[in-house]
């Protein structure tokens, strides 16, 4: 994953970081939300001052805004010419413009060789908080910018951000359902499968390097596994009938899925090589779409054992089944939050679907989307964001929102119909 080099030039010393918890209390009640200014990069060494300069600031501002931790703005102030030093910040104008923090960056592009350095400043206390320097090629600039946004979030919250992660999804751009992958913000979309068949329900391995998915390429809905970097699609489960809705366990050792080899759709777990099926449900109704709890001890799933599809939870070894959703007549697509406290799902509401979250104890059942029809929620690894597919008048695509439903943004770039997005782990 980290095929680029990065060097921490000015290390965010542990002492500096621990000092931050005194300074920034982003979650402290009563505190207004902090404002972050992201200055366009300064090109040095005669580098062309073109698009990428603006680009980088926009990437960081978008990331930080979506995080919900700060209000970020790509912004430059009229400063006296010759304000050359990265470290030499004139804090006063930023303070009077209402900003609490400032990101300044320097960028050098020689041929294809990119060097970029970012610094985060505390405007109020007039000091640098953290800095990072990256070496790579021109195409790495977005990635470096995302990486520094991760660093800011780490410094502000103590938790790593998800801005270098990716989203896999199904799209019909080529005329049939194929699987693609893109950066979480919709950039760099890449086709993965190109088999001309029907491909469904991708899921990432915990290390983000592989996906499993269902394909009809051999005239049966079989489960396949493939690396993101190689086109080889390895059959993982081609048992008679359905081999669908595969879901990788958090430790990567097992795959939960729905098989119908013994009759109707039931939940099984397999070893990661597809062997040793263990049946978890025994029910004449349909059981499918397993979703692991982050500790790997429980599995949420969809079952119509009471008539209409509802979400149930059981032990990951089977048994102790309990019904989770009680409101709504058609609830599907459960996905467990990385912190373990909530389950996101989609509910059929007057013909379409909306995304909901519910506490794992069945409390706080909350509707997050209201526009169009929205399906297949999937959490970001830090639990701050949820991606989902949407069909709505303002544009169909893969959308991302904060876990409380705010900040809904379409991230997919290419026009078309999108299905079953899934967010990679870190």
């Amino acid at each position: 994953m980290k095929n680029w080099l990065f060097v921490i030039l000015l290390v965010a010393l542990p002492a500096v970081i621990s000092a931050q918890s005194d300074y920034i209390e982003v979650n402290a009640p009563g505190n207004r939300q902090m404002k972050l200014a992201v200055e366009p990069s300064r090109a040095v060494d005669g580098s062309p001052t073109v698009d990428p300069v603006r680009h980088s600031a926009d990437v960081i501002a978008f990331d930080m805004n979506m995080s919900g931790v700060v209000i970020a703005e790509s912004r430059s102030l009229q400063l006296p010419a010759g304000n050359l030093s990265m470290a030499d910040v004139n804090y006063a104008p930023w303070l009077s413009a209402g900003f609490d923090m400032l990101i300044r960056s320097e960028l050098s592009l020689k041929g294809d060789q990119l060097t970029v350095e970012f610094r985060l400043f505390d405007v109020i206390n007039r000091k640098m908080i953290t800095a990072k320097r990256y070496l790579g090629t021109a195409k790495d600039l977005r990635r470096f910018s995302h990486s520094f946004a991760d660093e800011i979030l780490r410094v502000l919250t103590g938790e790593k951000g998800v801005f270098t992660t990716r989203i896999a999804y199904v799209s019909t751009q080529s005329g049939n359902k194929e699987i693609y992958v893109m950066d979480w913000d919709g950039y760099n979309p890449l086709p993965l499968t190109k088999n001309g068949s029907i491909n469904l329900n991708p899921d990432f391995s915990p290390d983000g390097r592989e996906i499993i998915f269902t394909s009809y390429k051999r005239r049966n809905p079989d489960l396949y596994r493939r690396s993101l970097s190689s086109p080889v699609e390895v059959p993982l489960s081609n048992r008679k009938g359905l081999n669908i809705t595969g879901s990788w366990s958090p430790d990567g050792s097992k795959i939960a899925l729905a098989l119908s080899k013994d009759g109707d759709a039931e939940i099984y777990t397999l070893d990661k090589d597809g062997s040793h099926p263990t049946r978890l449900t025994t029910n004449p109704a349909l059981d499918l779409y397993p979703a692991w709890s982050p500790d790997g001890k429980q599995i949420a799933f969809v079952s119509d054992r009471l008539g209409k599809p509802q979400i149930f939870v059981m032990k990951a070894t089977g048994g102790e089944v309990r019904r989770l959703t009680t409101a709504g007549s058609y609830n599907v697509n459960p996905r467990w939050s990385p912190k373990g406290d909530k389950i996101a799902y989609s509910r059929m509401v007057s013909g379409g679907f909306h995304i909901f979250t519910i506490g794992t104890d069945g409390s706080s059942d909350t509707q997050l989307t209201t526009e169009g029809s929205n399906e297949n929620p999937s959490w970001s690894a830090d639990g701050r964001l949820i991606c989902f597919s949407s069909v709505r008048s303002s544009g169909n695509g893969v959308y991302v929102m904060r876990a409380d439903g705010t900040g809904q943004r379409k991230v997919s770039q290419v026009k078309g119909t999108y299905f079953q997005p899934v967010w990679s782990a870190h």
Binding site: K177, I198, L200, N201, Y216, R219, N220, P221, G241, L242, I244, T245, A258, S260, G263, D264, A265, L286, L288, Y289, V302, D304, K308, P309, Y330, V332, N333, S346, M348, G351, F353, E375, F419, Q420
Partner: protein, 198 residues
Amino acid sequence: MKKRMVALLAGISLAALLAGGCASKEAVKKEEPIQPSAGISMTESAKPVDTAEQARLAELARLARLAEQARPAEQARLDALKAAALELKFQTVYFDFDKADLRQDARDVLSKNAEVILKSVAGTKVQIEGHCDERGSAEYNLALGEGRARSVQKYLTTLGVKADVLSIISYGKEKPAVKGSDEAAWAKNRRAEFVIVK
């Protein structure tokens, strides 16, 4: 159904082509004794004629080779044509919303379909495809579509069709028969179709 008709028509025109192919092969055989006349081409006066004749013979030989090469493909096309013709004898079975059990009209259709299978040549394999309308989740519909195909499979076996003749597959809502988002379209998409497989 419309698609199948087109496929059948395409098949028929292929068959016509195929008949043409055979004819040209016959022609080549008849022409064979003429081969020695190629020797005449050595004479000056006959040269233009011989060139044309040679070209004609070369073309005939080429067609013969093509026909020979095309044999297996033709056979496959013939099989596909026969399968398409047999598939046309099957009627599609329809279901109620979110249901996999068979309505009375479905049972009537299935007894006719069972007869078609029972009368077909030994070794014929039939796959029952379960389909759903566009409502509901894609994943749930995969399971529902399979339930529909299984209901059909079970009923056909009670009518005397051997179990090893039948297989099932679900396409959920991935392959609608008709487009549209109204009850008329949905009713046509909640179905089980019959295809001949190898």
